[in-house]
C-alpha cells in the first residue's frame, strides 16, 4: 500500500496569501485537494514587516485550505521572495585526482563543494545552490563522470537572503505547528510549471509580476542561470494611478483592471473613459492616455530593471532567450503586457494560461508559484530525501485513526 502525504504549498505575497493542498500518493501522483486565497497583511514588497498580522492571515488561509480539503497538512513547501534575495555565480574548480585523468565521483563532489564554499556575511543565509553545467578543461559537458580531463569546473547560481527575513517566514509557518520541508524562491517555483523542458533548453525568461515584487528567472540550456527580484509590482501601478489621478486605492485598482493597458499608444489621446460608468456622484471622465502613460512608465521601469540586471550579468542576448518571456503573477493579467515586453525587452512574450492538468479555477497566474511548489514537492529536489524528517509516532497514530 502506498503511503500518502498531504503537502501544503504556501506563498506569502504582498497582497495575498495562497495555499494549495496536494495529496502525494507514494511518489507517483499528486491530487490537489484544497486551496485558499486570503488577503495578506503585514507584508511589504514580499517581506514580512508585522509578524503577528502576517501570522494571522497565513494561519487563517492554511486552516481554510485544510477545511476545504478536509485534511491536515503534513509538511509545508514555502515560497520566498523579496528584494533582500540576491544571487552570486560561483565556480568550483578541482584538478582530476586520478593518475589516468579519468573523472571520478569524488572529483565531481570536490568541484561542487568548492563552488558552494563561499562564505556569506553573518546576517545572510543560502536558500538555493543551483547547479550549472560542468566544464572539463574549459569544454562544457553534461556529465563529466568517467570522462578524461585535467581540470573540472562547475558553476553554481547561489541564491541567498537576509537571515532575519527568511527566519520570519519560517516562524510564521511554525506558529501553526507545521514544519517547513523545503523553501523555494517564487520565480524558480513558477518557472517549474510554466516551462516545458524544450523551452528551458532553448532559453526562456519567466517573469512573475506580483503585488509588491516582480520575480524573474532566466533559463539557458536547461539550467537556471539567473534569478532576481525587482521590488516593484502591481500594487505600485495601483498606487501610481491613485496619486496621478487622485483616486482612492480601490477605485484605482478597479480602474487599472477595467481600463488599464501596459503600454501607451498615441491613439489613447483621443479616448476618454468613465471612472464608474454609471453617472453616480463622483463619476467622471479621464483621458485614457493619462492612465496608460502612468502604467506604461511603471511597467517599463520594471522591465528596464530586469534588462539592466541581465545585461550586467552578460546574460541579455535575445538569441539565447529563443522561447521569449513567459509572464505570470496577478499583474500579468494587465492588458497589453506582452506588447510592453516586446517594446522594452525586445522579446516575444506570452501570458501563462495554466497547466491543463489542474482544475480550471487554478489556471490563474496567481496560482503559478503555489503550483510550482507542489511540483517540487512531487519531483523533489536533490537534497529533499536527506532532509526529510520521519513522521512522529503520535502523528502516525492520529493519522491511522484519521484524526490528524
Amino acid at each position: 500500500m502506498s503511503e500518502s502525504r498531504v503537502v501544503g504549498a504556501v506563498e506569502i505575497g504582498t497582497s495575498k496569501v495562497v495555499v494549495l493542498l496536494g495529496e502525494i500518493i507514494g511518489d507517483e501522483g499528486l491530487n490537489i485537494i484544497g486551496h485558499s486565497i486570503g488577503s495578506s497583511i503585514g507584508v511589504k514588497k514580499g517581506v514580512i514587516q508585522d509578524l503577528s498580522a502576517a501570522s494571522d492571515c497565513v494561519h487563517a488561509a492554511i486552516m481554510k485550505a485544510e477545511k476545504n480539503a478536509q485534511s491536515r497538512i503534513d509538511e509545508v513547501y514555502l515560497a520566498q521572495t523579496g528584494s533582500h534575495l540576491m544571487g552570486n555565480f560561483n565556480v568550483g574548480t578541482t584538478n582530476v585526482s586520478s593518475s589516468d585523468n579519468i573523472v571520478r565521483g569524488i572529483d565531481i563532489n570536490q568541484a561542487k563543494e568548492d563552488a558552494k564554499r563561499r562564505k556569506l556575511p553573518p546576517n545572510r543565509t543560502y536558500i538555493h545552490h543551483i547547479q550549472n553545467p560542468f566544464a572539463l578543461d574549459g569544454q562544457p559537458v553534461d556529465n563529466p563522470l568517467s570522462r578524461e580531463g585535467r581540470q573540472l569546473q562547475v558553476g553554481y547560481w547561489s541564491v541567498h537572503g537576509e537571515s532575519a527575513k527568511v527566519s520570519d517566514s519560517i516562524r510564521v509557518i511554525r506558529g501553526i505547528d507545521l514544519d517547513v520541508s523545503d523553501m523555494i524562491i517564487s520565480s524558480i517555483a513558477s518557472g517549474a510549471v510554466l516551462l516545458e523542458d524544450a523551452e528551458k533548453d532553448n532559453g526562456a525568461l519567466v517573469i512573475d509580476i506580483g503585488g509588491g515584487t516582480t520575480d524573474y528567472v532566466l533559463y539557458r540550456e536547461g539550467y537556471i542561470v539567473k534569478t532576481g527580484v525587482v521590488p516593484v509590482g502591481g500594487d505600485h501601478i495601483t498606487n501610481d494611478l491613485s496619486i496621478g489621478l487622485r483616486l482612492g486605492r480601490k477605485s484605482a485598482e478597479e480602474f487599472k483592471i477595467e481600463h488599464g493597458r501596459a503600454y501607451y499608444d498615441s491613439a489613447d489621446r483621443d479616448v476618454k473613459v468613465w471612472l464608474y460608468g454609471d453617472l453616480t456622484i463622483g463619476d467622471r471622465e479621464y483621458p485614457l492616455a493619462a492612465i496608460t502613460k502612468i502604467i506604461d512608465a511603471r511597467v517599463s521601469e520594471v522591465f528596464a530593471i530586469i534588462k539592466e540586471q541581465l545585461e550586467n550579468a552578460e546574460l541579455y542576448n535575445p538569441a539565447d532567450i529563443a522561447c521569449g518571456v513567459v509572464l505570470t503573477g496577478g499583474s500579468s493579467q494587465l492588458t497589453g503586457i506582452e506588447e510592453s515586453v516586446r517594446r522594452n525587452l525586445g522579446l516575444e512574450a506570452r501570458v501563462f494560461d495554466g497547466p491543463l492538468d489542474v482544475a480550471a479555477e487554478l489556471r490563474h497566474p496567481g496560482y503559478s508559484t503555489a503550483l510550482g511548489l507542489l511540483h517540487y514537492a512531487l519531483t523533489g529536489q536533490e537534497d529533499r530525501q536527506k532532509s526529510a524528517k520521519p513522521a512522529s509516532i503520535l502523528r502516525k497514530l492520529t493519522g491511522l485513526l484519521n484524526f490528524d
Partner: protein, 311 residues
Amino acid sequence: MIGRGKSKSSSSATGSQSWRELAGNPKKRINSPQAKKRRQVKLLKLLAAVLLLVGLIALVFWLSSVIKAREEPIHITTPSREIEQIIFKTNGVLPDRWLGTVIRLGKGTTMMEIDIYGMKQSLENEPQVISAEVERVFPSSLKISVKERQPVLRIAVQAAEGKPEQRIVARDGTIYKGVGYPKTALARLPFVQPYQHSDGSIRPLRGIDRVADLLTIARQKQPDFYRTWKVVSLEHYSGDALLFGEVIEVRSSYVPRIIFGASTDFDLQLDRLQVILEYVRSLGNPSMERIDLSLRGSAAVQFSSGRISSF
C-alpha cells in the same frame, strides 16, 4: 506540467549557512488565534484517539474475560434422537433391573441430553462395580459396560435393627451387599471372622487377596475337602502376609482348626494337608482338633485324644 519535466539544476541549500539552520533554531512561537484553535482541536482529537484506543483495549479485555468465564455448556443444535435401547454388559452377575436402580432416564430423554460422565460416576460409586463405561451408540442406543468385583468370602454384619445381614467380601477387601448372585454360589463361600474392625466399624478388609489365593488353590487341589470349609478366621492375620507369625485359620466341618502360614507357599501347605488327611483316613478317621501347617518344614496334627503327630 505539475510533476513532469526536469528540475535538474535546482537544489535547496543544505549544510552551513543554509536556511535549514534557521529552521532548526527554536524561537518563541508566534501565536495566532487560528493556531491556538488548531492546537486545541488537535489536542482534543488526540485525546479522543487515546480514549478510543483505551476503550478498545478495555473492550477486548472485557470480551476475553466474559468468554473465559462462560460456564454454559455448548449447545449442539443438530437433531438428537430419543434413547430407544440400552445395551448392558457385565462380566459378573448384575441383572438389567439393577441398572434401573442406579440410573434413571426420563421418558423422551435424547441422546445428547444424558450426562454420560455423571452416569459413569454413579455406576462406579456402586461397591459391586470396579469400573464402568458409558457410550452413545448413534443413532439411538446407549451402551453400558461394567466390570464387577468377584466374591471371595461372606461376612455377617449387624444391620441397623440388630439383625445380622450377609455381605460379600471381594478380593480387594471391599465389602458389599452383593446383587444377583445365586444363593447356591454364595452358600459355597466361607464366612470370614472378625467382621468388625477394632473401632467397631465395617471397613474394607486388608490382605484378602492372600486369603483369596488360598481359597482358589484349595478349591482347585482339594475340591471335596474345600466344601467342608465354613469359616476363615483372620484373628491372627493383620493383612500383611510378610509379617512374622501371621496365620490364616480355616474352620471346617471335618477339622475344627486348620492353620495356614500366611507367607508360606499354599501349594506346599495344601500338599502336606493332603498327606495328613490320607494318613488320618488310613488310621480310621480319628477325630482331630487342629492341623497346623504354618510350622516351618513340618506340620502338626492334634487329635481329639490329645495325641499330637508331626509330619
